[in-house]
Amino acid sequence: MSGNSLVLPIVLWGRNAPTHCISSLLINPRALLFGHTASVTCLSKASAGSDKQYLVSASESGEMCLWDVNDGRCIEFTKLACAHTGIQFYQFTIGTQREGRLLCHGHYPEILVVDATSLEVLYSLVSKISPDWISSMSIIRSHRTQEDTVVAVSVTGILKVWIITADVSRMQDLDPVFEEESKPIYCQGCQSISFCTFTQLSLLVVCSKYWRVFDAGDFSLLCSVPSENNQSWVGGEFIAADKVIIWTEDGCSYIYKLPASCLPASEHFRSNVGKKAEGSIPPLVYSIADRADKQLEEGWEGQCVVVRLPDSACDPELYTPELQYIQRPLEAPLLICPPVTRFFFGRREPFHKLLIQGDSAGRLTVWSIPETSPLQPLSSAAELQVSVSISLQEAFDKLMPSPAGIIDQLSVLPGSNDPIKVTASVYIPSQGRLVCGREDGSIVLVPATQTAIVQLLQGEHMLRRGWPPHRTLRGHRHKVTCLLYPHQVSPRYDQRSLVSGGVDFSVIIWDIFTGEMKHIFCVHGGEITQLIVPPENCSTRVQHCVCSVASDHSVGLLSLRERKCIMLASRHLFPIQVIKWRPCDDYLVVGCSDGSVYVWQMDTGALDRCVMGITAVEILNACDEVVPAAMDSLNHPAVNLKQAMTRRSLAALKNMAQHKLQTLATNLLAADNADKGNLPKYSHNSLVVQAMKTNLTDPDMHVLFFDVEAVIIQLLTEEAQRPNPTLVSPETLQKAPGGADKGGSFLANKIFKQVKETIKENIKEHLLDEDEDEEEEQRRREEKSKSLSLLEYNLTMDTAKLFMSCLHAWGLNGELDEVCLNRLGMLKPHTPISFGLISRGGHMSLMLPTFKDSLLRQLAKGCAEGRKLSVSEIVGKGTYGVSRAVTTQHLLSVISLANTLMGMTNATFIGEHMKKAPARTVPRLTVSLSACMALLCRLSLFLSLSLNRARSLALSLPFILSASRSVPLYPFTPLKVLMCVTGWSQLAAMHCVMLPDLLGLDKFRPPLLEMLARRWQDRCLEVREAAQALLLAELRRIGQSGRKDTIDMWAPYLPQYVDAVSSRKSRKITHTTPLPRQVVN
């Protein structure tokens, strides 16, 4: 998805919640954020105020993303070579200014200080003495000195202190800051350190085998408690001046009351420090066993708290922490990794102290930490009760109606409640079909828009069983793991062929038109994990193959034409991670998960070499530059021939020869291939269905991506083709745009180009291909007629219908809803629609179906009380109250589409024309009439006339027309046409100007001005007009004061046309202020 075009995702989650193994914990998000390519290692908040809720995430591969939590927009992202394991947000004070900084540590010896808005590395904190990885850190603000201190512990147990002064913070260059203090504290395997925010005088260090309290002033040891029963501590925090909470790897937490020697308020504070021999704590910490008999043991059930004391006996009570509470995790079966625990302390009223735990089953558990101590502390440590607990799956299960899956209606077996899980899917855009492979080995072909309509919208289709018409292919014995439609990737493949792989080790070729199984390959010794299409310039033999990868670490080249496996590369020691190609050398390059690379000769099946390390990386990188290399080899045939000879590869030789022939043909044709190459392959698809899963064993969930621009183009194309659709020749097309409305000018080029392509394609076919292709063509036509048994329908109109029905704000204007339903043919949703948001760099957030949980609960209550409250009344309104970015995207889409439909003939989703592509000639007059109407309505919109005035204008028009009586009667009476046109104009007007009033400002998040402004000159005329109208409407809505605020906010970033000398200072400021990133979204 390119970042610039307006693409809206809608997700069908299905009933199974995605696997969500919690690896880091912050606050409870409302949506799933996608964007990292590796597992996430840490999260941190990235803004201080409550107005902006930002969050930063880092992954194993060194990526960092800044997200807006409200709508899941990715605001900024960056990638460093090293992976972070911890990030902390901190506001440094520079004079009166406060600047957000992220302090990062990880697999590198420094602490990186990163700007919290731009994610730029500002400077680093470096160790002079024994630098090593930092295992954890804490930031202390001292009120006395106005300095910020960073305390960190390295993996070798050396405590380091950096002091950040205002000077340091201001530094712009990458000069390192060295530590102030470095002191070994003999803490191996340090897990976390935290500073006591209550007294500001002590420091808690948690290591896996013990936890310790240090004096924050001179870092002398005050208290140390070992773990018992082989448990390892993983973290801890002060919950009060005298209490700490420590948690273990298996999810238990313990609250200890600190002994008096650790309490600055107590007279016994530091009373044992001096008694130790001068700073020499024995590095051996496991010596408890032989000392234990001398020490006092507090024997609680299963708890054995032993404190090492100085040899001179003192009153043990002073130094022994008292265990107050134990919290045990819920019995959660089948956790695959240790849970994550964090303690949150509310800084504002009502000062909640919460312990929150997340685990690999996607469950969050919350305990509220009591302020008071239990009454009888010595009898047994009290166990804390869970306050709240919920898992993602539970949340999904509770939903009524349950979250929609893409083909749920076709997958529920009689006698069972749960649908058969979809395990693999591929979308064929040219036919609008979705192919779903399922858990039971069957494959279902179904029209994508139709099935999505069933899942999301209510209508007469709800009464029919097994709707929409579909085809089921049966052949696999068990789960289908991958699907491939090769024709979609390259036209050289037969458009009937579909390839599927399963856990039964087999790969099957299907004919999707007849539903016939063509061939079964059984060459692998493991589940098929991937099916790939080889690149264009491979040898002809390989060009008709698909490449299959299996979990037994083997790769096969399966020829669809010869119906046999032409090469099997196996015996790789590690799972295959990537397949790359060197077509000009006839090499297949296999990258394994351990970093090793195997180079195979495709023709002979011989292993050319196997390499590791830097050479492996270089070989993989070289494969990416394969295109210029191939061009090069054509220019130097001699060199290439020599290479082929030395490698004794017949295929490479053949390949060479063919290349030369092809060049000849290309020259003869003088076709401008470059032009064709520039067009992205799937840019014209208004709808793309993408299957996603967060875990290989999860069922697929499906995201429908609607490309608004593409929908508009397709609608206009069809409109333009309407006059004479049976014969498409350049002549008619050249004339057609003249008759159509102004959208046509944009269109004309496009269609012309398409026709040119087709002609060129034809010439090529006849020049280069044998006559066998003609036979094939004949057969293909026959087959196509067979495929008519699957419902033929108008894909574009269906897509528009689905999209508009999802976007419209239902239930705000009853009159308009009626028009939408009865005249325009839109359908009300029957389930909440989970939208998504695509932001910078393809980062995406998807709303969870639980998003409207509270509203749905309200609905359930309403039903119980006997009130009639339809689901759609609730589900429609909500999307405009999510966030400003979401509102902007949705309004832009709905208005631009309504405008487009307004300009079309018979733009309603009801009637015969929805069944198949348009085939009737429509009188030119109607076209121009509707176009003129559209213009009128648009004009009214643009000027933001009130709805009523627009309508009265529209209604007066038919009378004028009927008065002139020059219009003969057509299948569509002008009145009917006009009704549609007014319907669309009302719809657009409502979304453009009336929404804030109808929804109320508390439920409406206004569109973002900067996002609208960026579309002021959008390349798509309809989107541009919608953006302009919206922007004007919004500017009017915010009134004078709002406009002034906007100007004030943006003024610092505007270029200043003032005398350069006098304004040097102000310019400097402009330079250093980072631009807010919202602009770029």
């Binding site: 024994s130 993996v155 395997g189 082989n230 590095p283 990794c337």
Partner: protein
């Protein structure tokens, strides 16, 4: 006709019975795998990695005062102009070795958290642990096998250049890194490009080893590499650790493969 049908039926019944028996056996085998085999492999892994970790001879925190000195004589098979005698003092480890050591220790920590007393319940659990261990091991090995490729200005700004006392002359740059089991030292001789030079200035990209003729800009001065000398010497213990890493990675993968086969 009937007879054949009956026989096929009985055969089918036999087959289902057989597959049922087979299933039980497989189930038992998998339980054995989780209970016994996994721990055996984990033990073996720990032993190997402890051995590897020992090679890194982590200086024990108590022996801070003693500075260990190590000498390396670096040579090259093709050129005799440059000989390197490198003396490493104390903990002056190269970053790569430190990182590799830390990764190994993290892997060890992961393994030690699941000792014999721990009962693995699912194959997925074993898989997840193996993934985490393998990630650390792959990184440890990668740190040794793939030296960081740097641009020349990055190299000039790096700590490597500041390590020397007395400081390096301005027209010499060194890079010092580990490649596989070899300690490599590259010396770049530079000459300053005059601002009015007719040469086409093109900044060199990042690479492990730059070639003569590579150009770069640093501190507003343009340089060109005139000569490159590379010397290296094999460090035997590094070779050992690489072997250990490879063996343990294979052990991990084999265990994973066993679990995957029975995951369904």
């Amino acid at each position: 006709m009937l007879g054949t049908e009956r026989s096929t039926l009985s055969e089918l019944a036999k087959m289902t019975a057989a597959s049922q028996a087979e299933r039980t056996v497989l189930e038992e085998e998998f339980n054995w795998l989780l209970k016994e085999e996994v721990h055996a492999v984990l033990k073996q892994l720990q032993d190997i990695l402890k051995e590897a970790s020992r090679r890194f001879s982590m200086p024990s925190p108590g022996l801070e005062g003693q500075l260990k000195q190590e000498n390396f004589i670096l040579g090259s098979s093709t050129m005799d102009q440059v000989k390197g005698v490198l003396t490493l003092q104390g903990e002056a480890l190269t970053q790569a070795i430190q990182d590799a050591r830390n990764h190994v220790n993290q892997a060890l920590q992961l393994l030690s958290s699941r000792d014999e007393s721990y009962h693995f319940k699912t194959g997925a659990e074993v898989n997840k642990l193996m993934d985490a261990v393998m990630l650390q091991l792959t990184r440890a090995r990668n740190r040794l096998t793939t030296p960081a490729s740097m641009t020349l200005p990055e190299l000039a700004a790096s700590g490597l250049m500041k390590m020397f006392t007395p400081p390096m002359p301005g027209d010499v740059m060194v890079n010092f890194y580990i490649n596989l089991s070899k300690l490599c030292l590259t010396v770049y001789q530079l000459h300053v490009l005059q601002p009015n030079t007719t040469k086409n200035f093109k900044s060199a990209g990042s690479s492990v080893l730059h070639n003569p003729g590579a150009m770069f800009e640093y501190n507003n001065t343009k340089f060109e590499v005139s000569h490159v000398h590379k010397v290296e010497c094999v460090v035997p213990w590094l070779n050992d650790t690489l072997v250990f890493f490879t063996i343990s990675l294979q052990l991990c993968q084999q265990l994973k493969d066993k679990c995957v086969l029975r995951q369904r």
